[in-house]
Symmetry: C2
DNA sequence: TCAAAAGTGTTATCCTTACACCCATGT
DNA sequence: ACATGGGTGTAAGGATAACACTTTTGA
């Protein structure tokens, strides 16, 4: 039996040297006809309780937002600009970063009419959630903004509350054809009665709820919709990020960007469950991961988890060269008959 | 046996009423520090010979490009702006449209230093390749720009020529570590010796070739790299489009956006083969499509294809409500031993 | 009659899923 | 002793891939 014992899953860093520069705004405000570009990051970390996002407190009591800032002439690339804003606003070092989408509807995002506001959203993954770099930044569980997306403990209460209103929305279509279209769209995004739920379709569900007036955007009175509100289009960016991550874990070994260097099977499983918002079948998950060659044993063992000590694993990066799509199948347990 | 007989796979339209407005450019040129946004579309159609892209002849003998134009204040959404430019420059009506990626490296795209040039690429699919709307637009097989991506008839000659130079590039890394990294990246994108070729990684392969100096971008003397050159970053956008399409056919029934209302199994198979750039196993492809419930028989039959008449099929859109990821598995035939 | 394409049957294999069960530790 | 989580064996069922074969037309 391997003797070495590890203690912590996600070691915490001490909070010394926090430092945060306030960006100067000497720049002239953009003139009508111009274009502004905002770069925003959904920075995700895994914690035992579930996935978290780094959020900045809203200024003057407004809604919170994601770390973000305007594209500047000094930024060599878009990603470099994003990284520089994140470095200024948080203490996080980013690992994996990927572009999600560019939003630019004239009437949904812009605050200044006549100025086109583009918003480029990014997904960033970090291994360890360090304490936020300033008093204005905090890690928050991502289901705070999407309570209906967490099905780990069965159908969430938020979704129970939404379902009747969604059906009412579908039935309030102007024509019979419109009603059928709405019902079909509802079934395709939310499934029917807990069946047919496809975890990746986060953005489609959010857009449907938005169109049906069941979630509020920034500016609306609080308490009108399910879930918390974010500044500008940041909640939509977060929905895109969650959907992308949920889709991608299945064909790329991207979860490991969220894991510490060594981890147990159950920690890996719980991370995936948190991301996907569903429970998985333990013995089969274990075997799928093993058999795909995604991990290897470190030789160490941890007693932190209670029960029998667990072997520690690390990611086998060689798998990238061996397999075409080394992702994690998600072995859902059979649904107990309703 | 069904009696009705259809004649053509892709009926051609007559070329009357072609019309194309030259866009005015009254607008002041952008000042330093400003941002310009170009919207570009890779418009794809399927033809019996393979997938085609609508290309515009380069002005003044320059490299050809994709239909594109600047984002304007009148455009309500980004996609609306794209559609309006495409409508002006071509006669195509677009079907499915999706955003691909926003490029914005300061030093790769911009022609005017001091002005940030953003380039938002889109993928658009059309059912029928109509004759181009103007003398400047033409349908071109997409492998003209990516000859190494077409493995339907075995390893293409272009890839044979590239392989030695790729290995030389990998071996010319500065340190042993750099050489290993290059070899790994090469294996992950191109596979090794025809084995491990993953058709979706089109952009990764293009970027590697670009980094290795084996494809030329606009401005370089002709004949320096493999494949034709396109204006600005349009070839990169096309690489993104091909990769996205190749990936997406596997989990969304998106090929049917390229098919006419009725088609045969072989036509569907050849379309998929053209997109993916590989050959498929006929009997198994047929069964996979059937069994997924993706198509239904129209009751008609065509004799156009030679040999025994083939039943005509249509897409069953209900499948979207029935299955989670109704895509086309790609049953590759066993590789003949080399 | 032959070539060409359409279409069917069948088998071996692998992967996934589900169920049942044993193991090692702390309290 | 028992609760908790770690970990293994195995068999049923489904999906896939390969091969062999029949059918229907036009030249």
């Amino acid at each position: 039996m391997p003797p070495v014992v590890m203690r912590q899953w996600f070691p915490r860093y001490d909070r010394s040297m926090s430092e945060s520069r306030v960006p100067e705004s000497d720049e002239a405000p953009p003139a009508p006809g111009q274009v502004t570009v905002e770069l925003s990051a959904a920075i995700v970390a895994a914690t035992p309780a579930g996935p978290s996002v780094l959020a900045l407190r809203g200024e003057g009591g407004g809604a919170p937002g994601l770390p973000s800032g305007p594209l500047e002439a000094t930024h060599r690339t878009l990603e470099a600009g994003l990284r520089s804003w994140v470095a200024e606003q948080t203490r996080q070092e980013l690992g994996h970063v990927e572009q999600l989408y560019t939003f630019g509807d004239r009437d949904r995002t812009a605050c200044d009419p006549g100025v086109r506001a583009l918003s480029i959203g990014y997904l960033a993954l970090v291994r360890e959630a360090r304490p936020a770099g300033s008093a204005d930044a905090a890690w928050e569980g991502w289901y705070r903004w999407f309570p209906w997306e967490d099905r780990r403990d069965g159908q969430p209460a938020a979704l129970d509350r939404l379902e009747a209103r969604l059906v009412a929305w579908a039935d309030s279509g102007a024509t019979a054809g419109a009603r059928q279209l709405r019902r079909d769209r509802l079934a395709a995004t939310f499934g029917t009665g807990g069946d047919g739920w496809i975890e990746d379709r986060v953005l489609e569900r959010y857009e449907l709820l938005y169109g049906a007036g069941l979630v509020s955007e920034a500016g609306a009175p609080p308490g009108v919709g399910e879930g918390s509100v974010m500044r500008a289009d940041h909640r939509r960016i977060l929905a895109t990020a969650i959907g992308r991550l949920r889709g991608k874990i299945k064909y790329r070994p991207i979860v490991f960007e969220l894991m510490p260097p060594a981890f147990t099977f159950l920690q890996l499983q719980q991370t995936v469950e948190g991301l996907a918002g569903i429970r998985l079948h333990k013995p089969n998950f274990r075997r799928l991961v093993e058999q795909q060659g995604l991990v290897e044993e470190t030789g160490e063992v941890t007693t932190e988890t209670g029960g029998r000590p667990a072997r520690l694993l690390r990611f086998r990066s060689e798998v990238l060269l061996e397999r075409p799509a080394p992702g994690l199948r998600l072995p859902r347990p059979r649904q107990p008959a309703a």
